[in-house]
Symmetry: D2
Subunit: 352 residues, 4 copies
Amino acid sequence: MAGNTFGKVFRITTWGESHGPGIGVVVDGCPPRIPLDESMIQAMLDRRRPGRAVTSTTRKEKDRARIMSGVFEGLTTGTPIHIMAENRDADSSAYEPYADLFRPGHGDFTYTMKYGHRDWRGGGRSSARETLARVAGAAVARALLSPAGVTVASATMELGGVAARPADINEMAAAVEAPFGCADKQAAEKMADCVAAVKEKGDSLGGVVELRAAGVPAGLGEPVFDKLDADIARAMMSIGAVKGVAVGSGFEAAGRMGSENNDEITPEGFASNNAGGILAGISNGDEIVVRVAVKPIPSISITQNTVNREGEPTTVSTSGRHDISAIPRINVVCEAMLWLTLADHWLRQEAI
Amino acid sequence: MAGNTFGKVFRITTWGESHGPGIGVVVDGCPPRIPLDESMIQAMLDRRRPGRAVTSTTRKEKDRARIMSGVFEGLTTGTPIHIMAENRDADSSAYEPYADLFRPGHGDFTYTMKYGHRDWRGGGRSSARETLARVAGAAVARALLSPAGVTVASATMELGGVAARPADINEMAAAVEAPFGCADKQAAEKMADCVAAVKEKGDSLGGVVELRAAGVPAGLGEPVFDKLDADIARAMMSIGAVKGVAVGSGFEAAGRMGSENNDEITPEGFASNNAGGILAGISNGDEIVVRVAVKPIPSISITQNTVNREGEPTTVSTSGRHDISAIPRINVVCEAMLWLTLADHWLRQEAI
Amino acid sequence: MAGNTFGKVFRITTWGESHGPGIGVVVDGCPPRIPLDESMIQAMLDRRRPGRAVTSTTRKEKDRARIMSGVFEGLTTGTPIHIMAENRDADSSAYEPYADLFRPGHGDFTYTMKYGHRDWRGGGRSSARETLARVAGAAVARALLSPAGVTVASATMELGGVAARPADINEMAAAVEAPFGCADKQAAEKMADCVAAVKEKGDSLGGVVELRAAGVPAGLGEPVFDKLDADIARAMMSIGAVKGVAVGSGFEAAGRMGSENNDEITPEGFASNNAGGILAGISNGDEIVVRVAVKPIPSISITQNTVNREGEPTTVSTSGRHDISAIPRINVVCEAMLWLTLADHWLRQEAI
Amino acid sequence: MAGNTFGKVFRITTWGESHGPGIGVVVDGCPPRIPLDESMIQAMLDRRRPGRAVTSTTRKEKDRARIMSGVFEGLTTGTPIHIMAENRDADSSAYEPYADLFRPGHGDFTYTMKYGHRDWRGGGRSSARETLARVAGAAVARALLSPAGVTVASATMELGGVAARPADINEMAAAVEAPFGCADKQAAEKMADCVAAVKEKGDSLGGVVELRAAGVPAGLGEPVFDKLDADIARAMMSIGAVKGVAVGSGFEAAGRMGSENNDEITPEGFASNNAGGILAGISNGDEIVVRVAVKPIPSISITQNTVNREGEPTTVSTSGRHDISAIPRINVVCEAMLWLTLADHWLRQEAI
């Protein structure tokens, strides 16, 4: 039973392979009468477009989004919104050497084991290009929630082992166009050095992204399984490169005592935010705070051992147009998944 | 839209409050002809029963599980399996002082904001007692997968800041009855000191639990959203005390280079397991490795500031029968959520 | 993938076999703060209790419903509501002769083909006793919608070939306790003769039930697949004895011209109701009108040919405590399914 | 909560309005390695294309289907299959007179009540053109089931009050290209007279379509709610023009006795098929037999009373390019919904 739909009330279903004719998303469950046009989608898509950051692939794609349904005279109609973009600069020939072997860290092996037949061109369905559809869908979620006062921002907190100092949500929002999506200029300079060195070696880098959402009212989240933090965790971990998710004090909470980690409550609100804005799986009105661990891009030009489809040993070194790090292009994808989760829970809360 | 169902094919729906007449679970989607009896459920329930560990509440509950349907002559029939246990030793009067105020770190505030009416007795639905139903459901999942060669184990890797040395799955399985569920005896002794000191202060402790599953075949997991790691993350984060989830190298991956983090492939299998057994959201046949961050129990006897329902400042200090740490009772709950996730994906893979 | 859950937002999951320890339902998704007590459930259950009508089985069951969770101080809490009733007067020995053969018209054959193992006692899960749980769940739906002005009624329109004259919703509601649930006294007298004759022969009877719902606002129903009429059709056809469903002019529409079947619209509302209150899958504010065809009870004391589990020919004649007709006990079950469908779509409409 | 997805394991999600840029369907859950190409989709689409039958609209659409994803080297990959067709011959100006009034029998009124904003061009989302996407999705279902020996056929059993004699599945299959999709030539001649007369008057006609599926193994269907007949009923009733659904003996069962309606079982199989191939919601291995009532097309050139958006009385007469009857174009749509339901239950049965 396949799993290409996200959300229960605000639902997206994505389709498309990296080197097929296009990529798209059907948004079902967006309420009617929400102002929506292609420029709102394009603005978010442009943030994940390849070729903009020094860490990014040189693949050139305009990623021009087209609304195919569900919008009439500038307003949503309550019917499914289909958004698609064509794939243009796909060069499948670069992938032919990998058609019959399994690149380490990629889905080549597991897709083959699961499906027995896979589109190897550009990684097919397991390509990060699939996230274009998520971002397009999230632009609709944003169009729904933004007028209600919800804001989402992200920033790079670590890249290649270089940590940035903490930033508040405004600093994070201001850093959208900053190098590496990092709100800490000095850290970003060190990151630049690190990236240059690693690029030289043909290696790649991981990092940590922090996300914050403000303006989320208390009450979102559906215990006991569809808790807001549970669905956020799933949303983030569904992104290919993400290997860890933490809410609020996260793994630091493990080393604390209750008296340190509890957020006392005052008539003015919570005295601290170790909860990351979520208590017992329900938003508490405070800022939602999430951190995700991003693994290094598995495509590297250093030679690695692997096997081919017949299980015979071979080696591989990837020379395609790959990112050095999923950061900062992944940041907007993480934001997208947060928008989508919030929109779904926003509407779920309407129905109680 | 409420969220008390977990899973899409192997589905559990739980019901019950801490101090209501009972707690139960309906398992829908278990295949027919699986041997199942109450002792198999009881064995798992006994591991989370209160009053067994030094960190645990002194509430006495037999937690006697009864199968109400779906099993005939010792075999499942393919129809819904309802399992329930009565609540007996519930003392609601101890909660009366908290009926009109919000205990920090608990769901009192958010349940009130969301529902406008809540059963405050023993935490009502937000009580950890709710996990009894999950464990009962997981016993059915285990009855399904265990004969197919799947094993799941967990161990405490950190408690109160004391870290344990790494353990393999056999050591973990052997530590089920060990102090604090910890496979490292020396660490456990230090944990004991720490627990004693914290108990003295009336405070509580967090920690880290590691889970491993062996015998999981390659192919489980449904990209792009219902990836195996995404669903595991959601499963773990749906447990009240869990604030972080990591798969494989997790947050450590953030500081690594691709050449370090990729698992090379040999004719004998993967040369390392930084992936934690999951590649591109699909199991790769290697051991599934998951870590969760457990926050300290919010109920402490140290006085804390809070507000009452009217928003007026007050203080609270909890003197009920509470655990010092969710560990080690939570360990079997984490295992339960892993069994449930694996059973669901096991059957989902059947349907492709 | 099993199917014991009905509804997407207002959801019920039922469990239980005819001769197991009990029957129950978990209602998930009922909003909080709805007044609910056991008497409201009992009132609906009493209408389907065996032994009340001349057409009914003589099995004696008190069918005493108990609320196990989700209600606190007389109000729903927004958490799962579990309602159960014990099975007491189950006499499984009467079913032993059928344990190894397939009763014509029953699920014995198909349950065996599907599951390979079945609880044959009293029909197990395929028993009409399962509908007790639906009615209990529907009592919660009614508690939600009734204060909003929704009413549902049903009446028998045909029994054993005897047709009743049309009745409006008030006449239908008034006929709840009338013989055969029929609002037409003269027809009911003929039905009584027919029933007596058929009882004498040991045979059974089918019929037609009409359902009406008033007070349903325009706007319920979710095109293009979860249309209100589509979900009503599914709801009705999920009842064991139902073989046909029609909305509004139903099968009569097949013989009409557009000019006859269209409902003209006036400033005062629709000039006719051939649509049965549903246009393009969405309620139009008019009365919902549904008819269902009920097949004769398959259990008859006339000898019939069948085969046993080994496929060998044998004969069967059922002498247990069976109804002569599913009517009128089925009427409240049909109403229950309509309440459940309306409650689900009521909440779904909230979330757009 | 919107409803544009059909199925639980084999799932289709459709998008598109009558006069938007196109219409499409995402099929998620189709197993990998199924041979599929555009010609297989086109063959089914051509049967519902406008302008082929005397009863049909004169709108000219090539309805050229394009596979956008999920197929690689002629085989499905297990990833989402997106199929779309462009809208070309859409003439929205013809609909301008109806932009502000509610055409009787159409969704204009209810869409406005539900969504508050609608695409009135060509009926927007409520247009029968939406069924193109269903048929395209069903072509994938057919590609899955056809090699397993399943066949589906339909035939017109009544049109404008003219009844056809019963036909077996082979006769039905042979009548695909027959006038009015009717297997009875003499009846078809009378239908032709009737259609000519009604066309003259500017009126429209309803009818009855029968569907049969052979080769369906015993065991499909998921009690107690997702019974095969329940899901078929929902599938059929989700088609705009359908007002009634009957399985097997259907409404005739209401007038029968159990001894007449039960299907006796012999070592060679069932002695009759009043069950329509479904017992207790599970296929019994016999032919699936379904009848649907099709209402007359609501667009007629006879003047009718209605109101405009302001509720003021007005009249309407439709002069666009409309069908006289949904039959026979609807026949392949009914077949499509049966294919989709069978494919979903086929895979659901795999997962038990």
